[in-house]
């Protein structure tokens, strides 16, 4: 991919005018590979999806007249004979944030063309992601065993179950898709697939962008469901 050139040859204007000209220069607006630009745009669109979900959830929670279940009680886990509030979710959040760390390292190793380290770090990220999904499945089954359903909820408002399953489910699908994506890229890194493509290792960063986004969304879901 060629470097962006200011074609006109004229001197660049100052201030806002210059900013606009800089942006509208020929060939490329952003000096990044296409895949990366496209991922950013996709994530922007995906942000709107999650925002709509969360706004819908907030609105449903405000509108309902039935009591909302207390998160420290419904999400508590029995440990050593005591119910510990938010235990599982703390572990899950910790795991997901750790996976962001391993992902960042993988991106770094990718740029150094250290195939082995990149592969193992991405693999670790994927494993952490998969265990997050596993724990989420555990939490779902616990709630379901207690009688929470999308359409009803023994602890209060029915909307609790509906929005919880819908939003964490949608996020869990994102994580699962991300795990598959990471694994595909990881194995391709290992096989030297990206040596054939110039800047091929940028794909690691692009996958990383997606992964960090999914983590970031989780922080919001966590705050809105477990802390509110």
């Amino acid at each position: 991919m060629s470097e962006a050139v200011l074609y006109s040859g004229e001197k660049e204007a100052e201030g806002t005018e210059g900013l606009i000209e800089d942006w509208s220069r020929d060939k490329q607006v952003f000096g990044v590979p296409w895949g990366k630009a496209m991922m950013w745009i996709f994530l922007l669109s995906d942000t709107f999806i999650f925002s709509c979900f969360l706004v819908g959830y907030m609105s449903a929670r405000i509108a309902t007249t039935d009591p909302w279940p207390n998160p420290s009680e419904v999400f508590a886990l029995e440990a050593f004979g005591y119910p510990v509030p938010l235990l599982l979710i703390a572990i899950m959040t910790f795991i997901l944030i750790t996976s962001s760390g391993t992902m960042a390292l993988a991106v770094n190793m990718g740029y150094r063309k250290n195939k082995k380290a990149t592969f193992w770090l991405m693999f670790a990220t994927a494993i952490l992601g998969a265990s997050f999904v596993g724990m989420q499945a555990f939490e779902w089954s616990k709630l379901i065993a207690e009688g929470v359903r999308p359409w009803e909820n023994p602890f209060g408002a029915a909307q609790f179950g509906s929005s919880f399953f819908m939003i964490t489910g949608f996020h869990g699908m994102h994580v699962s898709a991300g795990v598959i994506y990471l694994l595909v890229v990881a194995f391709r890194v290992k096989n030297g697939f990206y040596d054939k493509v110039p800047d091929g290792y940028k794909i690691v960063e692009i996958a990383g962008l997606y992964w960090h986004f999914v983590d970031l969304v989780w922080v919001f879901i966590f705050a809105f469901f477990y802390l509110w």
Binding site: M1, S2, V5, Y7, S8, I20, E21, W23, S24, R25, D26, K27, Q28, V29, F30, V32, W34, A37, M38, I41, F42, L44, S45, D46, F48, I49, S51, C52, F53, G56, S59, A60, A63, T64, T65, D66, P150, W151, A157, A158, Q159, G161, S162, S163, M166, F170, K196, V197, P198
Partner: protein, 583 residues
């Protein structure tokens, strides 16, 4: 050999051109073929929607005549007509069709940045269309909820198609959004990152600007529709209560509690209003190029036109609740949304003035695309003015849900974009097919469509003032309506049938042109934009033959003084011809 993505290859390298019929025309990754696939599919479903509108008009014009249309059918017709026209025809045709065809050609790239994704986008769109069509044939038929699909009635017994119809509708919408996202990401990335040398953003033709901003709107607005579709699907199938309040439906309690129907309306219109501009902005852009080309004059105020498109796009996200003045929301909201709505009129009016000023003292060639473009200015001003009325809360309250609204939105987002679609097809037909069509037949098509649509929609304003409600199967004996209202309805129906029949002229013309039309010039309109400067005519896979073009000027160097021709293509070097006003 290092790998360079196809869209960015400076020189043609030995790539494998698709050679079998299947890779060339079916599983094609060529943006031009995908554009044609999108276009044909959209027009075919559009014909279904047109047929439905004729059926509705027959019922309204001559109630009691047609025993095969019962009230349930009527609701299904209204719903499917509206939904198909707005989403499956116009959105798909402008972005999937014209967007795909024009963006790489006008920006001077070889293809979209990710051709494979582009191909997937079309096939996913086709899937959504198939699901949509399937809903006509399931038990209970398609949904009759109105294209706005408002709950509670959309999923409550008593509404036609409440079983499978509404489910298929929602699934089809979700699939459409996936298809649109795949295409849209491509369009945006191509415009931002893969233009040819010298093609700065401020040299892009306005068609590309309109399509580009419309795609941005789509990527930010469709999420709201996707989310509301998912939530409604759950309300329907899993008995969740996102949108469904505790209702008793036909004497039974279906078991919903505490949901908010207003939430749906907010989500729907957060999508729905930008959707209007998803359809309108590409039309704005294309019509600007057509007017400038056929008036042999540069577009008046190019920079202002670009900024107007951007500002309209931005504002379109903060006006949605002007569709909800009668929903019972807080009156202060109404004040806020009325204000923002009226502010949008400013950039819109700037555009209209600039179109008119582009024509002013131009060397106007009244060819078919030009006729349709001028027709657009009329219908758009007309629909825009009634929009100012409806944007004010106090005026909207009595007019809401009457035929005044039907007349307004048909003028502004039905007729106007469709006129541009026709103009654009007539304009680019020679490039797409390499053939000319019959000019006289095209002119007949224009005049009959243009005058015919006025005969349909002008009287509807009057019906609206008189109080005829929208979405009614029949009026029966109503005291407040004079008998003449029914005569007017009959007249409207006759015009509607006439306009629908007139479209045959278009299809006859195009089929004739394909079979035995004369060969067209590579640049029959003497246009400046890049798509007319391709080495092959019509352009082949890869668009530019051996070398990518290089751009030296804006897209509107028409009638530049001191040059022999009255147009200078964008790829003519600055030392070969004078540079006009733009840069």
């Amino acid at each position: 050999m290092s790998y360079v993505a196809f869209a960015d290859r400076d020189h043609e390298q030995d790539h494998h051109d698709p050679d079998t019929f299947i890779t060339k025309y079916v599983w094609s990754q060529d943006h031009k073929v995908i554009a044609i696939q999108y276009g044909i599919t959209a027009i075919l479903v559009g014909l279904i929607a047109l047929g439905l509108s004729v059926l509705m008009r027959l019922q309204l014009g001559f109630p009691n005549e047609y025993s095969f249309i019962n009230p349930e059918n009527y609701y299904q017709f209204v719903t499917m007509h509206g939904m198909i026209m707005v989403i499956y025809l116009l959105t798909a045709l402008f972005l999937g069709g014209f967007g795909n065809y024009l963006i790489p050609l006008m920006c001077g790239s070889r293809d979209m940045v990710f051709p494979y994704l582009n191909m997937l986008s079309y096939w996913t769109y086709l899937l959504s269309v198939i699901i949509l069509i399937a809903s006509f044939f399931v038990e209970g038929g398609s949904t009759g909820a109105g294209w706005t699909l408002y709950p509670p009635q959309a999923i409550s017994p008593g509404t036609p198609g409440v079983d499978l119809g509404i489910i298929l509708m929602l699934v089809s919408l979700a699939v459409f959004i996936v298809a649109f996202t795949m295409g849209g990401l491509n369009y945006i990335t191509t415009v931002l990152q893969a233009r040819c040398k010298g093609m700065t953003l401020m040299r892009m033709p306005l068609s590309v600007w309109g399509i580009f901003i419309a795609t941005v709107l789509g990527l930010l607005a469709f999420p709201a529709l996707l989310v509301s579709a998912i939530m409604m699907l759950f309300d329907k199938t899993l008995m969740t209560s996102f949108f469904m309040p505790a209702v008793s439906s036909m004497g039974v309690d279906p078991g919903y509690t505490g949901g908010s129907p207003i939430l749906f309306q907010h989500l729907f219109w957060f999508f729905g209003h930008p959707e209007v501009y998803i359809v309108a902005l590409p039309a704005f852009g294309i019509v600007s190029d057509l007017l400038s080309t056929h008036a042999r004059k540069n577009i008046f105020g190019y920079r202002m036109m670009v900024w107007a498109i951007i500002v309209i796009g931005g504002l379109s996200f903060i006006v949605w609740a002007h569709h909800m003045y009668v929903s019972g929301m807080n009156p202060y909201f109404g004040f806020f949304f009325a204000t923002t709505t009226l502010i949008i009129a400013v950039p819109t009016a700037i555009k209209v003035y600039n179109w008119v000023l582009t024509l002013w003292q131009g060397n106007i060639h009244l060819r078919v695309p030009m006729l349709f473009s001028i027709g657009f200015i009329f219908t758009f001003i007309h629909g825009g003015l009634t929009g100012l009325f409806l944007g004010n809360v106090t005026i909207d309250l009595p007019l809401s849900d009457t035929y005044f609204v039907v007349a307004h939105f048909h003028m502004v987002m039905g007729v106007s974009p469709v006129l541009v679609v026709f103009g654009a097809i007539y304009h680019w037909w020679p490039k797409i097919t390499g053939k000319m069509y019959n000019e006289t037949l095209g002119k007949w098509h224009f005049w009959m469509t243009f005058l015919g649509t006025y005969a349909i929609y002008l009287p509807m304003h009057y019906l609206g003032f008189a109080g005829v409600p929208r979405r009614y199967f029949a009026m029966g004996n109503t005291d407040f309506l004079p008998d003449s209202a029914q005569d007017l309805n009959a007249a409207i129906t006759i015009s509607a049938v006439f306009v629908a029949a007139t479209q045959l002229l278009f299809f006859i013309n195009m089929i004739w042109s394909l079979k035995s039309g004369p060969k067209s010039d590579p640049n029959p309109w003497d246009a400046t934009t890049l798509e007319w400067q391709t080495p092959d005519h019509p352009p082949k896979h890869g668009n530019w033959g051996h070398e990518l073009p290089e751009v030296h000027r804006w897209a509107y160097d028409y009638s530049v003084p001191g040059y022999e021709d009255d147009f200078i293509p964008q790829n003519v070097a600055a030392d070969k011809a004078p540079v006009g006003e733009g840069h």
